[in-house]
Assembly symmetry: C2
Homo-oligomer: 309 residues x 2
């Protein structure tokens, strides 16, 4: 398996800012992405927490183009490109590769339920063949609580065997450490990159051959999560993991995406950030106050966050 | 509530033919739609059984344009236009209205799970307002076994109250007669059109104020289903319902979409119809033989089916 161009570390499924009319706000998006990189965190833009599945393919392409045009390094990008429609997945993945993105994070097609590993294999296989670019690096996206469609161990094995230079990693957002451990045990030794979908499993992942994590709360607590990734072999690693868990569990008391946006809005002093697209609903005033109080109680800060007024 | 332009009767979520490279086959699609109309069945094209969610918005628009250009009456059409992304739903719904389609069948956004009625209300509300065309007639699409996102009774009530001339009906594919009965009891009297998502509930639906049905098996057994809709008050209605159930339960022994396509392929003498898009997988040769044997055993025929060689 090729080891070049492999993404490691901590990535954020970047929350997507919207204007008042719910159209994507490229200016705020670019500033947020630059801030995240300054905090040593890569960009898994268009993840679940990015409300990516509430964006059209054209809207995602426009944001990605704007990001690259603004000078953000595509080597730090692993955009989500897996859609329900094979044609959409091919369009978006090919565009990401053309822009030089280091990887593509791919959901399985998620409308039809109870589909077979054979059908999912054909989906990923068709994407690889139709994109037809040796630079393509696919990171599978396993998030059964939301997608309701699983990426099983036998499917991973078949994809790695068939496309060893292309299917190079996975984000495991099952929330089930036993599954993450099984993926690590089966595939990490051969160079397959495993990213738990939450920093809750960052330290355990690193101790078992993981590559980092891709986590919602990397939107708001990036530097501390990235520091544990860099210093996971230090003596204070367990204490750092516990500190990360306190922040995570505070956000987890609220609907995650609206809570992340409320925090960015508060710490950046920029209320426009609270806007979400339907079917999501923003936190109400009471929830926002409670969230910020909860975060203050654990001395949480978002350092150096700047957004346009 | 406006009663004009209301769709009634039996509609088919038309199976979508693909070429060998999995691109949509407009020629076969048009012929199939014309055949369905000749069998007295309307066109709920781009439903679940159409593999609609495996098609991009552009592919759906292209097929719909081809259908209208071929002279198929848009008054017989209720295309599926509900997508995960609000922007996609608006684009597709506006296009259907522009073409003169009698209705739009709208899934809720189905990626995010556990969303609130408020969030779903905002989604449908934004579609109505952004399309901004008094000709729009929305039929809500409740199919929790697949979408995993429900359209609840309170949500229906709020939508009807807010948009009485626009939100005019529902397809209930819950498979749960108690839910269909509750929708009928609560809303049918005020003119709301209720279509069970299977002909299994056609007679029971008609006896409780229903408007017809929208059913997968209307792709293969259209005339007989349409006849029960027309003659549901006749003395032989229960016997006709039982005959429909025998066909339905035969197909239900197989993965539904590949089985429908295998039947069309067989009775039209046109093997190209067996092609499905990933993540679905076509029936294997053994399953196809068994399906046709099962159908022969109940004297099933598809009359007058013609497809291009």
């Amino acid at each position: 398996m090729a080891s070049a161009r492999r993404i490691k570390g901590v990535l954020s499924p970047v929350v997507t800012p919207f204007k008042a009319d719910c159209s994507p706000d490229a200016e705020r998006f670019i500033k947020q992405c630059k801030w995240l990189i300054s905090q040593n965190v890569g960009l898994a833009c268009f993840g679940t927490n990015s409300e990516a599945n509430s964006l059209s393919v054209a809207e995602r392409i426009e944001l990605l183009d704007a990001l690259v045009a603004a000078g953000v390094d595509p080597e730090r990008m692993m955009p989500g490109t897996g859609c329900c429609a094979l044609s959409d997945s091919v369009t978006l993945t090919a565009h990401a590769v053309k822009l030089g993105c280091a990887g593509a994070l791919m959901l399985p097609p998620f409308y039809y339920k109870g589909v077979s590993d054979e059908g999912l294999f054909r989906n990923f296989s068709e994407v690889v063949q139709r994109v037809g670019d040796s630079r393509l690096r696919i990171y599978l996206y396993h998030i059964p609580p939301v997608s309701q469609v699983s990426i099983t161990l036998p499917l991973i094995e078949r994809l790695i065997k068939t496309y060893p230079d292309t299917v190079v990693g996975i984000k495991d957002s099952s929330g089930d450490w036993n599954n993450t451990k099984a993926v690590l045990d089966n595939f990490a030794k051969t160079g397959f990159s495993v990213f738990p979908g939450s920093e809750t499993f960052l330290l355990a992942g690193m101790r078992n051959g993981g590559s980092g994590c891709i986590s919602a709360t990397a939107n708001v607590n990036p530097a501390a999560i990235a520091r544990l990734h860099g210093e996971w072999q230090n003596a204070d690693a367990d204490a750092r993991q516990e500190a990360l868990n306190r922040v995570r569990s505070t956000f987890a008391k609220y609907p995650m995406i609206p809570a992340l946006k409320a925090a960015v809005a508060h710490y950046a002093g920029d209320p426009a950030w609270t806007t979400v697209r339907p079917p999501l609903v923003e936190l109400d005033a009471g929830q926002r106050t409670k969230l910020i109080d909860d975060l203050s109680a654990i001395d949480f800060v978002m350092p150096g966050l700047k957004s346009p007024k």
